[in-house]
Subunit: 225 residues, 2 copies
Amino acid sequence: MKRPAAPLRKACDGIRANSPTRPAHRPDGPSLPRRRTAHRPAHRPAPENRWPPGRTATMLGRMEIREATPEDWAAVWPFFHRIVAAGETFTYPTDLTSAEARGWWMLPAPDRTVVAVDDTTGAVLGTAKMNRNQAGGGAHVASASFMVDPDHAGRGTGRALGEEALRWARERGFRAVQFNAVVASNAPAVGLYRSLGFAVVGTVPEGFRHPRLGYVDLYVMHRRL
Amino acid sequence: MKRPAAPLRKACDGIRANSPTRPAHRPDGPSLPRRRTAHRPAHRPAPENRWPPGRTATMLGRMEIREATPEDWAAVWPFFHRIVAAGETFTYPTDLTSAEARGWWMLPAPDRTVVAVDDTTGAVLGTAKMNRNQAGGGAHVASASFMVDPDHAGRGTGRALGEEALRWARERGFRAVQFNAVVASNAPAVGLYRSLGFAVVGTVPEGFRHPRLGYVDLYVMHRRL
């Protein structure tokens, strides 16, 4: 599944500010924060290789993002279960069985589920699902959800998954991405989404019952593409 | 299905302001706007009959709200289709078939779908569905959706359905009701919800593509119970 020479958007963003050769007309050009990271490759890829059309894998140093396969669920479920059963960050039933959770998470096309995989060991570091947020007149707005294995936190997996979701949504022609229920006390997620260009456009007062903190707000977060 | 002596909350609200005998301790007492309507019955029901536990029907002068039955779908579908196909107010696929739409609308327990029926002719005037908005830590917030047959507009059906949804949510122990995607250009709905005590707690910019107006905002509306 891994594909070479598929530089992550983040790396290209880092280049953008000082890259006079970047095509100015690219309609789906990124507008993510211009952050440099330790994972950014030192080389500058040839422009024609930056966003290969139809690519399904992304390299982030030692991380690859690729389409999830049915076989990936066995690796996703342990940390999915750990995160959801804790009940602190997702509005999912905390007692989902593996089969039920699989149905909630592993989305068929045209929606999409990906995994972030350690490029060396093949370990699944995190996962994301991406989908249309509403139908009908709301079908131009995408949504996405992310889970990172707590045992592999701090590697930038969440950011890489978030950027991949933005890339996917832009490529699919969505005009915006919306998160419907971001738990306000989940500061790492809120901070990550803000740094990805999302803003809080709604606050549901006490919309979430946190097992330790009690009732906390839920944010609706949104980013135009 | 119709039950006698089941006064609508609205009627009781009208009474509240000048009813010294109303129990002050009622934990689920209404806090809806004190509006008097032409439908309010002149008599004052005995306190023990005001909110009969387990009732499923509500009288509103010439209107009854009762649980929807499978047989009701034949009467709901024509105006459901008319409203959804117009694409101006719901984030539903505009090309839903009757069978698909039935699955979207006719909810099994513990969720609920009701119809508002003309008390004399039995004609279905409108319908509402009521459900939990999120699971897990968000399971204490309900949601609801409403449709009124345009051919029967102006009879207070939407308001009666809205009040019934609030009553149901309160009775079921929800702490709030949230509407996730109210089309901002749908002034009658926004006005109705405001008058029922809902506030806009979020605005998704250009979250809805209106067939005539172009991109308009979507509101998240919310009301504590």
